[in-house]
């Protein structure tokens, strides 16, 4: 048995959710759309689908929920992976110096940081605005980050969330570890469904998943 998958385009055919948990793949796609909406040639159907879906949710008054995991993954994506991010800056640095720096983008970044911290920091300062921009993006788009609860007193709740995530990871090969935490948080935050572009979510039982291909 798999999750109940609903295409973004079929949203209207199903009961309207009250609260929808947004995973980072969905929010990252939305971010990409917002940054590049003036250049349609860059955008793919999934960007348009995601934005149209987001607008429908907004006009329907659906509570858009995220978590600390949603936020950090989007922030990391924008600061490191998105074109012009730290991985690209590290790559350019090593092209300029004529060295390799490492086999992966992350290795290059780490070597850049270690070998020439002043240049690395200077490179970072050119894109540091992306951090505040990410925060502003969540705020502008009315995506409310509802987890974790801000208290050691509620540690037992966090433990429950992670225990549930572990059980999900144990059961489903297609779910990555962070996907399991997203799904667990979605249930603990009393969300009716999850919005994602990660099709691995569709393998998990007992979840309702809005997605696009």
């Amino acid at each position: 048995m798999a999750a109940t998958g609903i295409l973004f385009a079929d949203y209207a055919k199903h009961p309207k959710p009250t609260r929808l948990y947004l995973d980072s793949s969905f929010v990252t796609t939305l971010l990409f759309y917002e940054l590049n909406k003036t250049n349609p040639a860059i955008l793919k159907p999934k960007h348009h689908d995601s934005f149209a879906f987001y607008q429908t949710l907004l006009s329907d008054g659906v509570d858009l929920a995220g978590s600390i995991l949603t936020y950090t993954e989007v922030l990391h994506h924008y600061c490191f992976y998105y074109p012009g991010g730290m991985y690209e800056l590290a790559k350019k640095y090593f092209v300029t110096t004529g060295t390799i720096g490492g086999s992966t983008a992350h290795d290059k970044y780490k070597t850049f940081l270690k070998k020439d911290p002043v240049a690395c920091d200077a490179a970072w300062q050119t894109i540091a605005y992306r951090v505040a921009a990410t925060e502003q993006f969540f705020s502008n788009h009315k995506i409310v980050l509802r987890s974790p609860l801000p208290s050691p007193f509620l540690t037992n709740v966090t433990k429950d969330v992670l225990n549930y995530a572990s059980i999900l990871k144990d059961a489903f090969v297609a779910l990555e570890a962070s996907d399991c935490v997203h799904l667990s948080l979605a249930h603990y935050l009393d969300s009716d469904a999850v919005a994602t572009l990660d099709l691995g979510f569709l393998t998990a039982d007992s979840f309702k998943v809005y997605y696009t291909n």
Partner: protein, 198 residues
């Protein structure tokens, strides 16, 4: 429209009866939006030689003598011969006179109907109070936890505030998105490895 409570604070001491009719003291609108405060006594403006007694109604201009804070709201007194009335408007504050009597002889029926109206509202409010009391009892169970959370949060705010002040001087989440739109809009498709990632 004036605020009754404000007017109360500004109003002179109560007048003697003989002074009342002669007094040029303020004419007030009888408002319902001031929970807990009422015009304790008033004269219809007709007594002052202006229009008719049909103005003895909610929202009419009145000459207020004094105001008092009341503990219950379903009270209505009248001294109809003198065309004065004592109306208590309670905690919800909205009292509607659907029909104003055309003459003093119609006052008793009018007053009776009005009292019924107020009594019904009183019942409704008492029921609401019962519901709220039971909800309060539910919430009270969680008060120790809530207090602890608030304490923890306040402690955390103290701990981080110094660091935030120091590091956050150049952090500007207000203009950052505008900068992002200007600098990060792509002019050509992203590299292959990024597209695969997306």
């Amino acid at each position: 429209m004036r605020d009754l409570m404000t007017e109360y604070n500004m109003a002179p001491e109560p007048f003697e009866t003989s002074q009342r009719l002669k007094s040029k003291s303020r004419i007030y609108k009888l408002l319902g939006g001031n929970p807990g405060y009422v015009c304790e006594s008033y004269l219809p403006t007709a007594s002052l030689g202006v229009p008719s007694e049909t103005e003895i109604c909610y929202g009419a201009d009145i000459k207020a003598e004094k105001f008092k804070k009341v503990s219950q709201w379903n009270e209505l007194y009248g001294d109809l011969d003198n065309r004065t009335a004592f109306v208590v408007i309670g905690t919800t504050g909205t009292v509607t006179f659907d029909e104003a009597p055309s003459s003093p002889s119609a006052y008793p029926r009018f007053v009776s109907g009005y009292i019924n109206q107020l009594q019904k509202r009183n019942q409704s409010l008492e029921s609401r109070v019962g519901t709220l009391e039971s909800q309060l009892a539910e919430v009270q169970k969680f008060l120790p936890t809530i207090k602890k959370l608030v304490y923890e949060h306040e402690s955390a705010l103290c701990r981080v505030s110094a660091v935030k002040t120091e590091l956050g001087r150049k952090y500007d989440p207000v203009e950052a998105w505008k900068i992002a739109e200007e600098r990060d809009a792509l002019s050509s498709p992203p590299p292959e490895d990024y597209s695969e990632l997306m």
